[in-house]
Every structure is written in structure tokens, then in C-alpha cells.
């Protein structure tokens, strides 16, 4: 008898899509601070799904996958901070230092350490907020 096929499970987080109130403002923020690359635009004049959903999206890549972070603006609904506390971005030592240096050049408030008191302590960690007050934690990759 053949063994049953193994269950398909979640392997890892792959991408995250956040609501923003101003696509251009947030694009400038994410590109400048995190050095992300613009990879695609979905607009109600180019995408049937966006037209039906009354949304517009910008896609950004960390450099390998088509998209890792996406920004979406809803045509009618207002963004808030009531369903997500934060998301974390992990960078290598050079990337972490670069993001930190660029953040220091802006007027964005930088908070050292992890956002959640219960999160595992990391030597390289800080958090800040984007133009819509979404909390972004920046973590230095642990090299084992």
C-alpha cells in the first residue's frame, strides 16, 4: 500500500502586503530607508482584480523574489493600525548598519531593542514607524 502523501505545510513567511494612505509617500520611505527595488505596479487601469477591488498596489523586491513587501491603497477605506502591531525585516550586518545610518539622517524616531518585551533579545535590533504609523522592526541577521 502506498503511504499517504505528506501534508503540505507553511514553510516560511514569504511576503507581506500593508495598507498605506499615500502610495508615493510610502514608496519614497521604503525605497530610501530599506533600499528596496520597485518591481511592479498594479492599478485599476491595468489589473482586473485591482479594478474590482478598488485598490492600487506597488510591489517591492529584496533582490531575489518578484515581491517581498507590497504597499496597497484602497480607493475608499482608511488605513489604521488596528490589526497589526508590527513586522520585522532582517538584514545582514552591512545592511543593518546602512538602514540604521539612513534612518538617523531622517526625522524618523529610532527606538533601540525589540518592540515586544517578550521577543527574544537581539544585539542588533531597533524599530521605527512608517508614514502610516506601521511599526517596522529591523533585525540584524544572527550568524551562527
Amino acid at each position: 500500500m502506498n503511504a499517504p502523501a505528506p501534508r503540505v505545510v507553511a514553510e516560511k513567511l514569504q511576503h507581506h502586503v500593508i495598507y498605506v494612505s499615500d502610495l508615493d509617500r510610502s514608496r519614497a520611505f521604503y525605497e530610501k530607508l530599506f533600499n528596496l527595488q520597485f518591481s511592479a505596479r498594479n492599478h485599476p487601469d491595468s489589473s482586473a482584480a485591482m479594478r474590482l477591488a478598488n485598490m492600487e498596489m506597488r510591489f517591492f523586491s529584496f533582490g531575489r523574489y518578484h515581491h517581498d513587501i507590497c504597499l496597497v491603497k484602497h480607493g475608499k477605506l482608511k488605513v489604521d493600525n488596528g490589526s497589526m502591531l508590527h513586522f520585522s525585516l532582517t538584514a545582514n550586518k552591512a545592511g543593518f548598519d546602512g538602514i540604521r545610518a539612513r534612518a538617523a539622517e531622517t526625522s524618523v524616531a529610532i527606538h533601540d531593542g525589540r518592540l515586544l518585551a517578550s521577543a527574544k533579545p537581539r544585539s542588533g535590533a531597533f524599530w521605527l514607524q512608517d508614514p502610516d504609523n506601521h511599526c517596522i522592526e529591523v533585525l540584524e541577521e544572527i550568524v551562527s
Binding site: 502523501a5 503540505v8 505545510v9 507553511a10 514553510e11 516560511k12 513567511l13 514569504q14 511576503h15 507581506h16 502586503v17 500593508i18 495598507y19 530599506f34 533600499n35 528596496l36 527595488q37 511592479a40 505596479r41 498594479n42 492599478h43 485599476p44 487601469d45 491595468s46 489589473s47 482586473a48 482584480a49 479594478r51 474590482l52 485598490m55 510591489f59 523586491s61 529584496f62 533582490g63 531575489r64 523574489y65 518578484h66 515581491h67 517581498d68 507590497c70 484602497h74 477605506l77 489604521d80 488596528g82 490589526s83 497589526m84 502591531l85 508590527h86 513586522f87 525585516l89 532582517t90 538584514a91 545582514n92 552591512a94 545592511g95 546602512g98 538602514i99 515586544l116 518585551a117 517578550s118
Partner: protein, 225 residues
């Protein structure tokens, strides 16, 4: 604990979900986009139009924390549907942004991603639990084990057998029949609402820099189109 029945405003109404599979038909997409096509406002939005990729300063998404009404209910959902496992639970702890408010956290791990998801119950100073609003993130996506197109179809079948109801998919986010829905990224995907109506995508086989190099060599941006 009494749970509040709340449907966030961004949740797709049921009738729209019935029509969503039609996005896999090119004639339907053309019909939806008829107005911008006639008005000559329609434009290409494909990745090959843009000058990607080079390494950025970010390696990966490390963690996402979401508000839930009931950790036990959500934990069971993520365990059963996605195979996530609980790493640890903590709390209450002070809310980092709201003085006097508290949080309880449950850290969940995927197969090769430790503590990738944090389920959070938030309470005001009077102890009243918050209800997630739905308007912070559109969706968050997990890559499935195997990472092949057939794995997302197997996952969708597995979820259906377990009585989970998809809100969209499985589709492929490109224009290739029979599964392409005209969107971008190339990934196979299916979507589910969790118990708080957070939209959770499960995806496979997203286009990568290697795919584009194979197709276009070192051509950049519009030279690729």
C-alpha cells in the same frame, strides 16, 4: 471570553467571491478592463518593465505580529490549516505604544521559520479586549513546503478536506492559462480568512531574479518588455 462578531470593511462580500474564479478567464479580465482600454488608459504593469533586480539591504521578512480576539481560537486555526506550531506563549506585558494597555502573545513557528508569526491579544486599561479592524495589512503570505505549483493545489485540496473555506484561488499570478489570473509575481496562491478575517495567502514558485535572467539575460527595465 465573549467574542465580538465583526466583519472588517475590506472583507470580500460572498457574492464577489463567487465571481472571483472568473479572473482566470482572459475574456472576463478584458471585460473588466474595457473602460480603460477604450479610453487608452490601460498600461502594462509587468515586472519585466522595470529594472530589477539587485540585492537590497534586507534579507527577508523576519516576523509579523497580528491582533486576534482569542489566541486559542487563532492558534488552532494556524496549527490545523498551515501546520504552524506554538513556540511559546507570554504575557501579559505592557503595550509598547499605548500606556496602560497590555498584550498577551503567542509565538508561532513555520517549518523552517522560527517565531515568524505572533498572535496578540490586546486589552485596554479596563481589561477589555480589542477587536482587529482589518485595515492594517491586506494580506500576509507563507511559502508552502515543496514550493512547486502542484503543492498549492495539493494544499487547497487538503484544506478543503479539512473543511477550510478559501476566499480566492488556487490561481497563478500571471496571465498563463488555465490558472493565471492576470496578476503579477508568477506565484501560485490561495487565500483564506483566519478567524479574525486576516487574509492569509499560501504561495509557491514566485518568479525570481533567476527566472528573469533566464528569460532576458542582462537586459534592464523596458528593454526586457
Amino acid at each position: 471570553m465573549s467574542l465580538v462578531a465583526y466583519t472588517p470593511p475590506n472583507v470580500l462580500p460572498e457574492p464577489l467571491r463567487w465571481f472571483a474564479p472568473l479572473l482566470k478567464r482572459k475574456w472576463f479580465r478584458q471585460l473588466v478592463l474595457l473602460s480603460p482600454t477604450i479610453a487608452r488608459r490601460r498600461f502594462s504593469n509587468k515586472t519585466e518593465d522595470y529594472g530589477v533586480f539587485r540585492p537590497s539591504d534586507v534579507e527577508r521578512i523576519g516576523q509579523v505580529s497580528i491582533y486576534v480576539q482569542d489566541i486559542a481560537r487563532s492558534k488552532a486555526w494556524y496549527e490545523k490549516l498551515a501546520g504552524l506550531t506554538e513556540s511559546r506563549s507570554c504575557g501579559p506585558e505592557p503595550h509598547p505604544l499605548k500606556p496602560g494597555w497590555t498584550l498577551r502573545c503567542c509565538y508561532m513557528s513555520a517549518r523552517s521559520h522560527e517565531e515568524c508569526l505572533v498572535l496578540i491579544e490586546e486589552r485596554d486599561p479596563q481589561g477589555k479586549a480589542s477587536v482587529p479592524t482589518g485595515m492594517s495589512f491586506f494580506h500576509t503570505a507563507f511559502e508552502l513546503s515543496g514550493n512547486r505549483l502542484e503543492d498549492v493545489f495539493a494544499f487547497a485540496e487538503q484544506a478543503h478536506a479539512d473543511k477550510f473555506k478559501r476566499n480566492y484561488g488556487p490561481v497563478r499570478h500571471n496571465g498563463v492559462p488555465p490558472h493565471g489570473d492576470g496578476e503579477t509575481g508568477g506565484n501560485g496562491a490561495c487565500y483564506f480568512y483566519d478567524p479574525d478575517f486576516h487574509n492569509i495567502e499560501f504561495c509557491v514558485a514566485m518568479d525570481t531574479i533567476d527566472n528573469y535572467r533566464a528569460r532576458y539575460g542582462d537586459k534592464k527595465g523596458s528593454d526586457r518588455a
